[in-house]
Amino acid sequence: GGVCATQGGIHINLTKMDRILEVNAADFDACVEPGVRRKQLNEHLRATGLHFPIDPGADASLCGMASTNASGTNAVRYGTMRENVLNLEVVLADGEVVHTAGKRRRARKSSAGYNLTNIFVGSEGTLGIITSTSLRLYGIPEKVTSAVVSFPSIKAAVDTCVQIIQAGIPIARLEYLDENGIKSVNSYSGLSYAVAPTVFLEFEGSESSVQEQSDIAGELAQQNGGGDYQWASNAEERAKLWSARHNAFYAGLALRPGSKALITDVCVPVSELTDVLVETQEDIKTASFPNVVIGHVGDGNFHVAFMIDQDSKAEADEAKAFALRMARRALACGGTCTGEHGIGMGKIDLLREEFSEETLRAMWSVKNAFDPNNLMNPGKVLPEL
């Protein structure tokens, strides 16, 4: 609900501001306007050997991604937008134009002034309007390999993932799909994955590095009782291996045609993930509608998608109750009630449980400093005190 104009007002559409302003290949940075999308930038960069890897699963606007602190399946390797925005041009509520790190500055490190850049990243338009963003670029990996393994239990799958992270492997993608998810994809895409908790892995690096990483991960999987380690290195085969994970959302919806998905999102410390996930999967077994669990387990982040009848208040309430329990489970072990999907409108009240009143007051003082008249996307990000 982050973009809903709950108090009416003016909706400013920046899609036509779509120039790629600068590309500095030698310094691995680029600057783009709001209308520039992720794929457009990467296509533009393709001959430089560089790319912007954050991939939230859609061809999203890069400034929009900055505004929502977007994350992606490879956050485990590259971080989220927070780690990759070097500078922003922002128009404030009073019309002043500010460059958060200084105009055209793109030093990798700086101790100058306050870190304004990261206050705006993730602010969902509540502090100002982003009109350009400078991004950190990365080299296109020399080699990418993918693997899929299924496990006899949820615990075995998640434990393996946790161990892969704890072994310090710089894994590029580490995704979990539960049995329901696999069943739905098998039926939706006509595939024949083993119906069991499944882990999808992707490794990036030099030829030798990728082999090493994959070997260690394969060993850990085996030790936890993992099944056949299916592995692929060419683009077509990798796409096939990962197609289950890519189609998971639509496959889930297809479990109950006509349904809408209510998607939850939590993030917990990796060492707590196994317990939280096992508990959550136990809890949702009792749901009266189909559900699928998808996890960016490398970050301790996972989603449950509930396929509900949107006209049924009973189902919506039931799904929200599951979501609330899930969020509280995450908060109880030092996690957050929103790993990457943002607060919008639905989770505002939970922030009172995630943050102390003091912290919320400190956040409000930032909001009041930048937007004393509460004109910028009012009613979002922070709950009323």
């Binding site: 457009q40 296509e43 533009h44 393709r46 001959a47 430089t48 050997g49 560089l50 080299g139 296109i140 990996p141 020399e142 683009a235 077509e236």
Partner: protein
């Protein structure tokens, strides 16, 4: 037969650019506009590299003719994995008026100079859409040709080429030496990675002029004018079938 492959790499306006016609209608705006390797030529380079990886080709030579900036295009080919590059310089008005026949003549000289036995080029360039150079070159050399290739297999002294044609797919067998033109589905070109981009800077790049090769690139074709397509006229909605019939009659579309 170990293949020595010559690959044509044309520098064109990048496919993602919104092309604008110059105000004086003499051509399109190219100044300050992003250029890159013709996408079909990227596919050609990729095919040559795959042949090398399969140990069927011993050397891949990338070629481009045009102004100084063509060096960038050739560096991309080298970064993808080509062994050497040849830049044939053609500048200014001569370059702007250059026709596929001249390019084919240059390539013929290079084929002879480099002792190549396989030429792979994109099926057409995305700026002029001519789709002529490969075929003309084959004619000038007296070589076989496998055009619009979506699959190429080496079978001894022959190539089996699956061609994308209007009716579907046609498979032909051609004897080497041959000219192949690459179609969209032949392969997915690899990205140039940073270490390879660095290595490419050290790979050999020869520079020649068309004159050095004894080729006259002057054109018998002159560009009369370039204009944008007419602005699409708004249509109109009609309320009923009889309205529609009336309007069609008024336009003379039906009796």
């Amino acid at each position: 037969m170990s293949l020595r492959v010559l690959v044509g790499c044309k520098r064109v306006i990048d496919y993602a650019v919104r092309v604008r016609v110059k105000p004086d209608s003499t051509g399109v705006v190219t100044q300050g506009v992003k250029h890159s390797m013709n996408p079909f030529d990227e596919i050609a380079v990729e095919q040559a590299l795959q042949l090398k990886e399969q140990k069927l080709a011993s050397e891949v030579i990338a070629f481009s003719c045009g102004p100084a900036q063509c060096v960038e295009t050739l560096r991309t080919a080298l970064a993808m994995g080509a062994d050497r590059a040849v830049h044939v310089t053609v500048e200014g008005a001569e370059y702007e008026n250059m026709q596929p026949l001249a390019v084919a003549k240059i390539m013929k000289k290079l084929v002879e100079k480099e002792d190549a036995n396989l030429v792979i080029v994109g099926k057409q360039a995305i700026d002029d859409d001519c789709n002529q150079t490969g075929q003309m070159l084959a004619g000038l050399l007296g070589w076989s040709q496998g055009t619009f290739a979506s699959k190429v297999d080496v079978d001894g002294e022959q190539l089996k080429v699956v061609r994308e044609v209007d009716g579907g797919l046609e498979t032909v067998q051609v004897s080497l030496p041959s000219v192949v033109t690459a179609d969209l589905r032949l392969n997915t070109p690899r990205y140039a990675t940073l270490p390879n981009i660095m290595k490419a800077k050290k790979k050999p790049m020869d520079k020649l002029s068309a004159g050095d090769l004894g080729v006259d690139v002057s054109s018998k074709v002159s560009m009369v004018g370039v204009s944008e397509p007419p602005v699409r006229q708004a249509g109109s909605k009609v309320e009923s079938v009889s309205d529609l019939v009336q309007k069609l009659k008024a336009k003379g579309a039906i009796a």
